[in-house]
Subunit: 488 residues, 2 copies
């Protein structure tokens, strides 16, 4: 149903608008982790709403108790399949000293789109939206209503044309497309489930596409069918009201930084990454032989992986070991330690307070609630003065890499990028996925568009026109494939 | 020679000027550790110079290759004893979130002088200066020169008066008083030795008083006769160019924060403080029985110590153990860890870089250079990728707690505060002390004026009029005692 030439022209003609929209989005610092950004979060939701309204979609900003969800789309008719595209519009903080520019000033360097959130996940969100725009412009179901609304009082002069479009819809794009844009993904989606309870604004689709994952490499599309879960926490120790002078008090004073480091070392072997919390590995379901085979066919290359993320060395060298570790094994990571002195040089204080920032990636079989209990128990044994504060919990996810929807994804990616995708797992966590799975019990597919070098969660994040243009084509093709498949 | 009533009036009348000067000094953020403060460091030196010039002292701002030294005073004659009072005018950073006010806005709360540097060491520096001012105003040797300089061209109408003062000098205060104010104490005095090489500007005295130490408690004056040394360093590990996404790379990526924590744990037992670096304790000279006895007589109280520094608990409870640990045992302290994420919540990055800020307090017998070699060797064994960067080195110091100078100090403190001082060691390190000892080979005494609750190196630092007024009297008395003693 997709006319390749027409789609090519559409994509080319969309570039200016796409870049304008992405620039506007990047320049809203929608850092969900930073409570001082509440105003920017609202601005972000409003901007997203306007884009959809501008495309004649019906849109709602759904209140959740936290930051809202933006939900909207076009209904051709309940008899047609409905697909919901999930993206998130909140971003990571951008305080890293390595930034070469203001992270919230958009810079378009000949098709390289620089700025925090460009690839995670504003660029892919807009890419999917432009893919839908093509589908809508071809089938244009909403236009019928649009013409009615604006011309009824003047005698509906285009009603006949509308009917003609109706035919086009039925023959061309009998599909309902909806977007679901979250603003709390980077903080573990604490209010997403509450948002989904508004069944009017956020109706249950027949399938979901999540567009927030990363390829193996440029030219190596990857479609994950599983995600790791996440359990993040802060380990807190206060031993004094203030920082004290290490000459005047050192030796007798406890050092909470040192004590938390002892706890850290009791939780994880720093060099191998082996987690030392008793019972941690008990429920881990190892990847199957078929999965490992699929990993090995993915074209994953250790050298390219190291280069993309700027690693000087890795814990393991063998590609199979690396893939298993990043996609299918749980981790215990230490992200930083606050308290004491972090500035230039050395300030000789005995800190009064320290806070260890940790998280664990969990794999299928592991239950975050259960792992949290194991962590608490272990920390209490190592150092009973340390408080364990839960930050976020995301269950791991495992979908399928076979079936009709997967076939649609394969054909869409092939059409968009000229290459079939590899089926792998994703090492990251998207809390909303498990929530949608629980709420709707429908197939969830992944069409990610980011490249490793784009810098997810890293300084100097960017997105690029190559991924955006191929992505628009992929999404247009995917909508066409779903329309062809009809309702299951 | 001190007229108690006259001194009392002088002190009372000096209060306003003292508070004005201290306010000016505190409001110059002379943070030697912060390279962006170079301009403030110069302002601080100039302000100090002006105070001494205003008291008709001859003053020089001595270039050292780093921040300058301010050296100045009044010479009554080479036949009289010369005493040099050492203080430092640089301060610690003040970025702690616990500050209840702008640390560089002076706040005088009815004789409580709030602001960074108030007690460490600007307040004591000014206190000593006002003590000297009294001595000078009584004996006024410099006035003679001053009158000569200003009245020679008009026929020296006060020459006779000058001669009369000269008599006063000889009878009253035959002493040369000099101040030596450093601006690099908080960074380990890297250029102090170079400054002392200027023998014209910084001449060799017969004895030194260092005024930068802390009492046991309010009403419990303490005079230390020993200092711990210091060896500070940064342990650095870079494993990637950037922070990376812990979902996408975690498990395969090395974690430099975790690896440095492993190194930290291999260097020190976090709970007991026992240093694990092989050979670390080899050269430690344990305190003598006489010293331990002197410690026990000092009036040190564990509860008061905990309260003064805001500690919830200590590594040991017994007073003798606490005193031995803070005054006479070496330590390995971890001050903080930079790299990764320190903000609100948890940001799930795998850091590319981490830096551990550590220092060791060393005791008599230990040689910083030797201990640094032990540290480097040990770290290389634990993790060869970790770089060890030396920050500063200060040799420990041990003076005497007997002899004529010590007797002068005893009498001066008794006169100033109505109570004889305890003789203890100081757990902190003052690099300049060992440098002066090597350069001049003269007795070095300590008359400190700070209280534990004043918050050395801590947020909400302050100084108070009680210590300042008693301190002025103590210094005035001490100058009188030295004058009486004459040249050895």
């Amino acid at each position: 149903m997709v006319n390749e030439r027409r789609l090519g022209i559409f994509v080319k003609e969309s570039r200016q608008k796409f870049e304008e929209f992405l620039g506007q989005m990047v320049e809203v610092p929608s850092i969900s982790m930073d409570s001082s950004r509440a105003g920017d979060m609202r601005r972000m939701a409003e901007l997203a709403r306007q884009y959809l309204v501008g495309m004649n979609a019906e849109v709602q900003v759904v209140e959740t108790g936290g930051y809202p969800i933006v939900s909207g789309g076009w209904m051709a008719g309940p008899e047609y399949p409905t697909v919901t595209i999930y993206n998130h519009l909140d971003v990571q903080p951008a305080q890293e000293p390595e930034w070469k520019q203001d992270p919230f000033v958009f810079r378009n360097d000949r098709g390289m789109y620089h700025g925090r959130g460009a690839t995670d996940d504003k660029g892919p969100a807009l890419t999917a939206m432009f893919g839908a725009r093509y589908a809508i412009e071809q089938g244009w179901p909403i236009n019928i209503r649009f013409l009615w609304e604006l011309e009824e009082e003047i005698g509906s002069p285009h009603f006949a044309a509308g009917l003609k479009d109706r035919t086009a819809v039925e023959q061309g794009w009998p599909i309902n497309i909806r977007f679901l844009w979250e603003l709390e993904e980077e903080i573990g989606s604490p209010h997403f489930a509450a948002g989904l309870k508004d069944r009017t604004a956020v109706s249950r689709p027949d399938s979901v596409v999540v567009s927030d994952t990363i390829w193996i490499a440029k030219g190596r599309p990857a479609v994950p069918y599983g995600l790791r879960g996440l359990l993040s926490a802060r380990l807190i120790l206060r031993t004094g009201e203030n920082d004290a002078h290490s000459g005047v008090t050192g030796g007798a004073a406890r050092n909470p930084v040192a004590e938390l480091m002892e706890v850290a070392n009791a939780c994880v072997d720093a060099r191998t990454g082996r987690v030392k919390i008793p019972g941690f590995y008990n429920d881990v379901v190892e990847p199957s032989t078929a999965e490992i085979k699929s990993f090995l066919k993915s074209g994953f290359d250790v050298g390219r992986f190291k280069k993309a993320y700027g690693f000087r060395s890795l814990r393991v060298q063998n590609p199979a070991d690396v893939m298993r570790r990043i996609w299918a094994s749980p981790t215990f990571e230490i992200h930083g330690l606050s308290g004491g002195y972090h500035g230039q040089g050395v300030k000789t204080v005995v800190p009064g307070y320290a806070e260890l920032k940790i998280s664990m990636r969990l794999v299928p079989g592991q239950v975050p609630e259960k792992v949290f209990a194991l962590l608490k128990k272990h920390v209490a044994k190592v150092n009973p003065d340390v408080k364990v504060e839960k930050e976020g919990m995301l269950h791991p996810f495992k979908g399928s890499f076979e079936g009709p929807y997967v076939d649609c994804v394969k054909r869409a990616v092939q059409a968009g990028f000229g290459k079939a995708p590899a089926f792998v797992r994703e090492g990251g966590s998207i809390g909303a996925v498990v929530t949608m799975q629980k709420a709707w019990k429908v197939p969830i597919l992944f069409i990610g568009l980011s490249l490793p070098e784009h810098g997810y969660h890293a300084p100097n994040e960017y997105y690029d026109w190559g991924q955006a243009s191929g992505g628009m084509k992929t999404f247009a093709q995917y909508f066409s494939e779903l329309a062809k498949m009809g309702r299951a």
